[in-house]
């Protein structure tokens, strides 16, 4: 199509979360002229926007912030450094030579970037991909959906869910539940030990949620809305627990769909784009940073550092 406008830039950063913004800031500080962050949401900041609890920002700002405070702060810093942030802008296609196809409310366009950084982050594995048995009623979601509902819209998807998983994010979910007046009926973990080395017994009991180890979800039961779940303990004995929702936490999977749909190579085991030590993808014009290349997933501060490190490699590459 000839009527599609094509713009150019030095570096296009896909994703305006901690790693994307820290990379963009680092690039500007190193003297790279035009750095554009493309974010599909109406507000930049990434996942921390809806993690309404501390601790964020310790490494970056030497103080403890909540997720939303942290998100605002990193966006402001990027703007101060002269980073252009294009919101409501979805990258739909990656092609060779750094050619990106963008869709925004203004129309479809193309962006030609000397280098492209994928900073598209991560998300939790939904119920469907876990092959959990049962009906498919309303009231089943991931932590991301719960937290965005609570912190962005002041809504709750359930009042007494079962929580599946004991990763760090699972305890973040418990904090959100407490804030929102949600009382989980139990928190279950398939393994003998919880996934995090925190004082989890203390944490779960602090939130008043029974923690059950060596327990898996067998079936979800419900009509329009979740009514109960069947869980099985280590001895295989099944138990039906009434609840009005199921919260599937963790099991993070990289949000690498764009790379997967493109010419870039992926690690078949992790689903992350294949990168070298400098975060460089199989096409040397493309780089990746942050949680899209981390398995297991890392906290915002680590993503921030990853953005800085990969941005320096991009600077070297552009000047070399």
């Amino acid at each position: 199509m000839t009527d599609i406008t094509t713009k150019t830039c030095d570096v296009a950063v896909i994703g305006g979360g901690p790693s994307g913004l820290s990379a963009a800031i680092t690039l500007k500080q190193a003297g790279v002229k035009s750095v554009v962050v493309l974010d599909r949401e109406a507000v930049a900041g990434g996942i921390p926007r809806h993690c309404g609890h501390p601790p964020f920002g310790l490494a970056e700002f030497k103080r403890i912030l909540t997720g939303p405070e942290y998100a605002k702060r990193i966006v402001k810093k990027a703007q101060q450094e002269g980073v252009e942030i294009a919101l409501k802008t979805t990258v739909v296609l990656l092609e060779k030579q750094g050619r990106l196809t963008l869709v925004s409310p203004d129309g479809t366009s193309q962006l030609l970037a000397k280098r492209v950084l994928l900073a598209t982050g991560t998300r939790e594995t939904p119920r469907s991909a876990r092959f959990v048995s049962g009906n498919r009623p309303i009231g089943i979601c991931n932590t991301g959906a719960l937290q965005s509902m609570v912190y962005l819209k002041n809504m709750v998807p359930f009042r007494s869910p079962l929580v599946v998983g004991t990763e760090i994010v699972s305890f973040s979910a418990l904090m959100t539940c407490k804030k929102a007046g949600i009382k989980p009926v139990a928190m279950i973990e398939q393994n003998t030990r919880p996934s995090v080395q925190w004082p989890v017994y203390y944490a779960a009991s602090f939130f008043g949620v029974p923690l059950r180890r060596k327990t898996r979800i067998v079936e979800i039961i419900g009509g329009n809305r979740v009514e109960s779940v069947i869980i099985a303990g280590g001895n295989g004995k099944e138990e039906k627990i009434p609840c009005d929702g199921v919260l599937f936490t963790g099991l993070f999977t990289p949000e690498s769909s764009l790379a997967r749909m493109s010419h870039l190579a992926l690690d078949p085991d992790t689903g992350c784009p294949l990168v070298d030590n400098n975060g460089r993808c199989s096409d040397p014009v493309y780089f990746a940073a942050g949680n899209v290349i981390f398995q297991p997933v890392k906290v915002a501060g680590k993503c921030w550092q990853s953005g800085i490190r990969i941005a320096r490699a991009i600077v070297d590459d552009l000047s070399g």
Binding site: R40, P126, F131, M155, P157, D269
Partner: protein, 466 residues
């Protein structure tokens, strides 16, 4: 009678808002009849029609000289005639019957003969080179394959929506949460009770699908068939798998089942399914881990390149089979009643043909309508991945569901108009919202806000509070 007191008079009353009911409503409205469709759920497609393989069949393997074959042929033909005007998509995939064993290959002559009897004369056997060229990713041990060029893939939810919308645009009416609880015939008119009021009709078409026998027993006093629900589970793969196959990959059918199919969807995904599981329940569309794992493994065996490609969704549909394999059409000319029973997996294709058959039957009953002149032709929004979507037209506000590129504008449109979504699943079928790879991780909050106070079962159960 505890209805709201209203009595709606109509020529033709249709019980059931599945694909068959919607197609009959359209056909009869265009024929000039006044029509009222009654659906017990808050939206159309709540039963068997919500989960199918979305294939537009040629009828190559239908029972020879059967009504089913006739309806499939007519339905296929009419879909091709009307789909552009209604803005319904068509993916010209073709289908391949793949034989993996000598025993399966030995059945080819029989399949060919049946196809020819069914006037599907463009079926042909492929050479190994052709198989490989057409489906380079298919596992290398395919022995032989037949190719049926006119088996296509369509949008299984927009099509019935378009049919009913056209009925409504041409004077029809649809009632939801309107289960037919009782009915009586006075020799001239039917009076059907629903929670939304009474419907007074000259003719009644029972298209209640999984509940067809129950409705007949309830209103006529008996049923000529018994519904034997047959569940089919499906696994939907990420859009990254969408280009791994080009055609619908059919196994060689056995006497019992058509078998597990690997097929592209109109939305850009790839799917495997359905299973065929007899069950008592007419509404339990639950999935189970063992079956999903088995489907997943089977898909990987047929298509090794699927390895590592994530699963987007899983679901189950329930076919309204009966104790016999054929369509179960009951004609009651003395009472002006038609029952369309036992419409199974071919229903999506056959619906337009069945509707034509209904018109013929009603004429036989003595019905005379004046064909509607210059009928309204209404277009439905396109959801097909290979065609322009709403997000490709500027001014859409913002994208709410990123995985499926669903805009704020199209969600708002689906919540209003002449056929607004009546439930969250109805909204999903109209827009694809939350049906993508993240299953609502990113968009649930915005969707909860957009749909607040719209549905009886909402996404949000209330406010968050400390």
């Amino acid at each position: 009678m505890k209805s709201g007191g209203q009595v709606i008079s109509t020529d033709v009353a249709i019980i059931g808002g599945g694909v068959v009911g919607c197609a009959v409503a359209r056909r009869m409205a265009l024929a000039g009849a006044s029509v009222v469709l009654m659906e017990k759920a808050p939206d159309i497609l709540d039963g068997a029609s919500k989960g199918n393989s979305a294939i537009l069949h040629t009828g190559f393997d239908a029972p020879v000289d059967s009504l089913e074959w006739q309806c499939v042929q007519n339905g296929h033909q009419e879909y091709l005639e009307i789909h552009k005007s209604l803005n319904l998509p068509l993916l010209k995939t073709g289908a391949m019957v793949a034989a993996w064993t000598e025993e399966e290959e030995a059945r080819f002559p029989g399949i060919l003969e049946k196809a020819h009897k069914n006037q599907v004369n463009d079926i042909r056997q492929l050479s190994q080179a052709e198989i490989h060229k057409l489906e380079p990713h298919l596992a290398g041990n395919v022995r032989a394959a037949l190719y049926i060029p006119r088996e296509y893939v369509i949008d299984p939810w927009s099509a019935p929506l378009a049919y009913l919308l056209q009925a409504i645009e041409n004077g029809g009416q649809a009632l939801f949460n309107a289960e037919v609880t009782a009915g009586g015939y006075d020799g001239e008119h039917w009076l059907l009770d629903t929670p939304q009021g009474q419907v007074r009709a000259k003719y009644v078409v029972n298209a209640a699908g999984l509940y067809g026998d129950i409705v007949d027993t309830r209103v006529l006093g008996d049923s000529e068939f018994v519904i034997k629900p047959r569940k089919g589970q499906f696994v939907v793969f990420d859009k990254a798998a969408g280009n791994l196959i080009n055609s619908v990959i059919l196994p060689v059918p056995t006497k019992i089942t058509k078998g597990i199919v690997l097929f592209p969807t109109i939305f850009g995904n790839m799917m495997v399914g359905p299973t065929a599981e007899e069950q008592e329940s007419r509404d339990d569309a639950s999935v189970d881990t063992a079956t999903l794992n088995a489907l997943h493994e089977q898909a990987l065996r047929m298509l090794p390149a699927l390895k590592g490609i994530p699963v987007t969704a899983t679901y189950a549909g329930i076919r309204s089979a009966t104790e016999q394999p054929e369509y179960r059409i009951r004609e009651e000319p003395e009472r002006n009643w038609i029952t369309l029973g036992g419409i199974r997996s071919t229903g999506l294709t056959a619906a337009l043909g069945i509707a034509r058959h209904v018109e013929t039957l009603l004429k036989g009953f003595g019905a005379a309508f004046e064909k509607r002149q210059n009928p309204v032709v209404s277009r439905v929004p396109n959801l097909a991945n290979h065609l322009s979507r709403d997000c490709h037209t500027p001014g859409y506000g913002e994208i709410v569901c990123h995985c499926e590129m669903v805009t704020d504008r199209e969600i708002k449109a689906a919540l209003s108009g002449k056929m607004p979504a009546g439930s969250l699943s109805g909204l999903k079928r109209r827009t694809r919202v939350t049906m993508g790879r993240c299953q609502g991780f990113y968009c649930s909050a915005r969707l909860a806000e957009l749909t607040e106070d719209k549905f009886e079962t909402p996404l949000s159960v209330g406010e968050a509070h400390d």
